[in-house]
Symmetry: none
Subunit: 220 residues, 2 copies
DNA sequence: AAGTTGCTGACAGAAAACTTACAATATGAT
DNA sequence: ATCATATTGTAAGTTTTCTGTCAGCAACTT
């Protein structure tokens, strides 16, 4: 699992440093001093979560939030405000923020809220590199293209993706996907691997499943 | 879904501003300084909810409420009062208010109550995509066409609609629709699904219920 | 009694999973 | 390099599993 990417819109350099030290090593963070650079980066790569300070010099944080919500309705957004009054809290939530933290905030608190936000977002849909695993649809997409997997294929590919980088032995795979009752030698696993590879190719991708001869399979 | 329209009767300008900032962008609001303009607007367009301050200069809020109830028995009404005593609370509810908030009120609280009021109003009829679920009639319409569902069919389709996009397993569905006491394998679920599909087709729609083999069903 | 509604069991059809057989490929020894 | 061997890939066919549908029955309503 890659580190979650978090975009932060914050102009105060002191607070920027605070974010850096707070999230260092835990999340990949990118800090933007203004809305424009944030949106530019957003177009290139969508983060897992955004933290927006509403007291910015050039632009109102609420405007950023509103504009962001036009592009992405589900991205978890945490609003940070110096105003600790109820009004901005309410306004933030109304504009589509998922959570609200007021300055001065405790780093612990912020981390907890980020975690909660990421968990909410990851509830159904998780991204791993090129893959998007949708637990509710029982399907996986490759570069946005749904693969249309059967349950076996879904379970199998999900396993490989979630433990990508790791070579899983045939036995491990059997145990995880079929349960303990797997019966010795069979080509069943290879079959399904072939099916999945076909479907990924049909979606326009190159085979991402590596065969590790004598051991099992791996997704990088 | 359009924004809900809320009429507010309030003469204090400070409080008027508070309403404006609180509900901005979330609801369409119109604020009236007196009862007459409120009723005039009411005749033209009925709101989804009304908030009435009972401490008005020219007219008693209770009178407005009483008169309103002659025209509309179900409109959710929230009474706002500076008197936080129990008497006005009871009086308000007796006159047909659905809820009661006393000044000075927390904006959060007010928003929560408005939401609750709207939810109550929407209790009977809710829209999800092409479907309109009517709790009171125990029926669901597809593109305005009533389907004429039986209770089981209603519960089943309602479940699928309310959690649309999500694949529900047969077991989940059984638990939700039949209760915990569902007995193993049976074709009952498929039967009802088939019935619902027939009825939707009869109403001129394409089958919106997706079978997820080995798992359950889903409405997109 | 007649009509609804909900359920069951039987069966058919379809989809998925698996098996078999053989081809293709990688690996290591020669 | 070449070959032998072990291992994996794949096509075709078979089996199993799952869903859809039908007919019929029981419970309930009107």
């Amino acid at each position: 699992m890659d580190k979650a990417l978090i975009y932060i819109v914050e102009d105060d350099e002191g607070i920027q440093e605070l974010y850096e030290s707070a999230f260092e090593d835990v999340y990949d963070i990118r800090i933007f001093g203004d809305g424009e650079s944030f949106f530019k980066a957003f177009e290139e790569k969508r983060p897992s979560l955004a933290i927006i300070d509403i007291m910015l010099p050039d632009i109102d944080g609420y405007t950023i939030l509103t504009r962001l919500r036009e592009k992405d309705e589900v991205l978890p957004v945490i609003i940070v405000s110096a105003k600790s009054d109820e009004m901005s809290f309410v306004k933030g939530l109304n504009k589509g923020a998922d959570d609200y933290v007021s300055k001065p905030f405790s780093v612990m608190e912020l981390i907890a809220r980020v975690k909660a936000g990421l968990r909410r977002a990851n509830l159904y849909v998780r991204r791993h590199n090129e893959f998007t695993v949708n637990e509710k649809l029982y399907d996986i997409a490759f570069r946005g293209q749904k693969l249309g997997l059967t349950i076996k294929e879904f379970k199998l590919l999900k396993l490989l993706i979630e433990r990508s980088g790791e070579t899983l032995t045939r036995e491990e795979i059997f145990k995880a996907v079929w349960g303990d009752d797997f019966m010795g030698e069979t080509r069943a696993l290879d079959m399904h691997i072939a099916q999945i590879r076909d479907k990924i190719r049909a979606a326009g991708g190159e085979n991402p499943i590596v065969t590790v001869r004598g051991v099992g399979y791996r997704v990088d």
